[in-house]
Subunit: 332 residues, 2 copies
């Protein structure tokens, strides 16, 4: 994030890390403009504070950052689950975040300014998130190359459970079942579907143990849902009836899932005047995201008396009509 | 198979197909030397008969082929499950087969002589399979570019269930669970693990309905095993204990699974004299496969009185010592 902010946003970036060696390397490699001696020193005077820490440690580190941050600062995080941290932090300067980007290799030596290019970057504005603050964060994230996507924290965690955490659990279980089936045979079996489906089995154990733990409730719900679907599948396969229809249905549903959120042509501007009530921008962003409409860019112009403001949103041409309707509903 | 046999083995190939158009195209494109008017005509005088038909139709078509085939012919099939067809056909001239090769596109227009290059081709010799017949089939399959791998029919079906059929069922269930989680949101979620794990969801419904049906018992066993592993995973995740060890274990097991059957260096010849008893070559081939040793080539030289024979096997250098021990045990 620091490297991308320097290279793509032209930002002045001050960093702090508990690992002094990492901090020194970051400075040497031009990932940072300056290295701070403490979190408070790094945060002082910053427009935007990005906290990266293990999910369990986030609340404490965020509170420390918020205590040192100015009244106009935005404080965000990059944790992989959102409901718990959003519930833990009451400060309206905090807006949760989660970029869906990463690499096999960790550490500042492997930092790349293009890591976020085209990546979904979830943002979890709150009811009381000020519109201008959300707009600034939205613009910063888009400037890093990512696609900011507003989402409710609990929906975020449910979707992460179904689309990321559950697949990891299932990959592990498939490997265990395959070991049982192989027994003491040493026969090569190299189906491409098995390789694809177990590629993530056993990935980074400390990291994934912490991710599963942070999203435990949503993951257990997803796992229960999957168990129910597998029991239904067992009944269909055992009866030998409607098997072809069941198989075809899964293909239709997968295509529908992957079509969600496809961009729909060149960008078009949608403008609307919104009342200056708390949460209106958050409502707007979440409403459009739920409808599958990406806000590629946004701009807020408050009226002189701050009683209302004009919002300009850039969305895909094909979505502009629907976006205008939804935006006007929210603004009412 | 026909095209590869012509191009790679220099074989004279006569074909028959219930679809007259396909048969004509095969002839025009040089996939066949001759088109027969009936299965019996195609089979007459053949050294090797390869039957490709839907799994449920295989026993009847194989019986028809065996009735027309000569006493020295080898009749094999390319069906994706093996226990039922091997149990159905009592003729020792039949040796089941299953090449793990295919393409997204079907039909003779898409035939490629290199389709089998490097692919595992399972063979299911019987107790009463004659050694010389098995050797001829082994050599033909290797000549098509594939790696012949001897296996017991029920082990074949169990492994196919775990490594291929179950992953397809799980992909469908993951898609269904993801649809539930998405609900009426239209939020893009594009995790690479989800894409990888659901790539095969809904694949070719008529084909896969027939594959599931043909391997129903083994598939239901595998599914029950997976359900048990998922329930265990649920308990680990809910307790939040030993999660990291569980995750790490899956990684270790996956690497062990994918290491199975890796070639171990340049080939070396292993020679052994075996008694001329029924099934000795089948025993030998299955024993080596179970130990993870590929027979890259084999050659049988019967003694003049046919009371015994010398077998030469080519295996990877690293496996030669172990192969010699196993072969001598079987030959005793």
């Amino acid at each position: 994030v620091a490297l991308a902010a320097r290279e793509r946003l032209g930002a002045h970036v001050t960093g702090w890390d508990p690992d002094e060696h990492a901090l020194r390397v970051a400075l040497e490699r031009g990932v940072l403009d300056a290295a701070a001696a403490s979190p408070a020193e790094a945060v002082a005077g910053a427009d935007l504070v990005v906290v990266a820490a293990p999910v369990a440690a986030l609340p404490a580190v965020l509170e420390e950052a918020l205590a040192a941050a100015g009244p106009d600062a935005i404080v965000t995080d990059v944790g992989s689950t959102k409901a718990a941290v959003v519930a833990a932090i009451g400060d309206p300067r905090f807006i949760g975040g989660h970029p869906l980007a990463g690499a096999e290799v960790a550490g500042v030596e492997h930092a790349r300014a293009d890591l976020f290019a085209g990546a979904t970057w979830y943002l979890t504005p709150r009811e009381d998130t000020e519109g201008l603050r959300f707009e600034r964060l939205h613009r910063a994230v888009a400037g890093l190359g990512a696609v900011p996507t507003a989402i409710r924290p609990e929906v975020h965690d449910r979707l992460m459970a179904a689309f990321s955490h559950l697949p990891h659990v299932v990959a592990n279980a498939l490997v265990e079942q395959a070991c049982d089936a192989l027994g003491d045979e040493a026969i090569p079996v190299t189906g491409p579907s098995f390789r694809d489906m177990t590629r993530v089995a056993g990935a980074n154990p400390p990291l994934w143990a912490s991710i599963y733990g942070a999203n435990r409730e949503a993951l257990l719900d997803a796992l229960d849902g999957l168990l129910a679907h597998l029991r239904d599948a067992r009944a269909v396969l055992a009866a030998g009836e409607r098997v072809e229809a069941w198989q075809a249905g899964a293909g239709v549903r997968r295509r529908a899932l992957l079509d969600v959120g496809l961009t729909g042509g060149p960008l078009q501007q949608v403008r609307v005047v919104v009342p200056n009530r708390p949460g209106v921008i958050a409502d707007l962003a979440v409403t459009l995201s739920r409808a599958g409409i990406n806000i590629h860019d946004m701009s807020l112009s408050p009226s002189p008396d701050f009683r209302s403001g004009e919002v300009a949103l850039w969305v895909a041409e094909d979505h502009a009509g629907r976006a205008r309707e939804l935006v006007e509903e929210v603004a009412r």
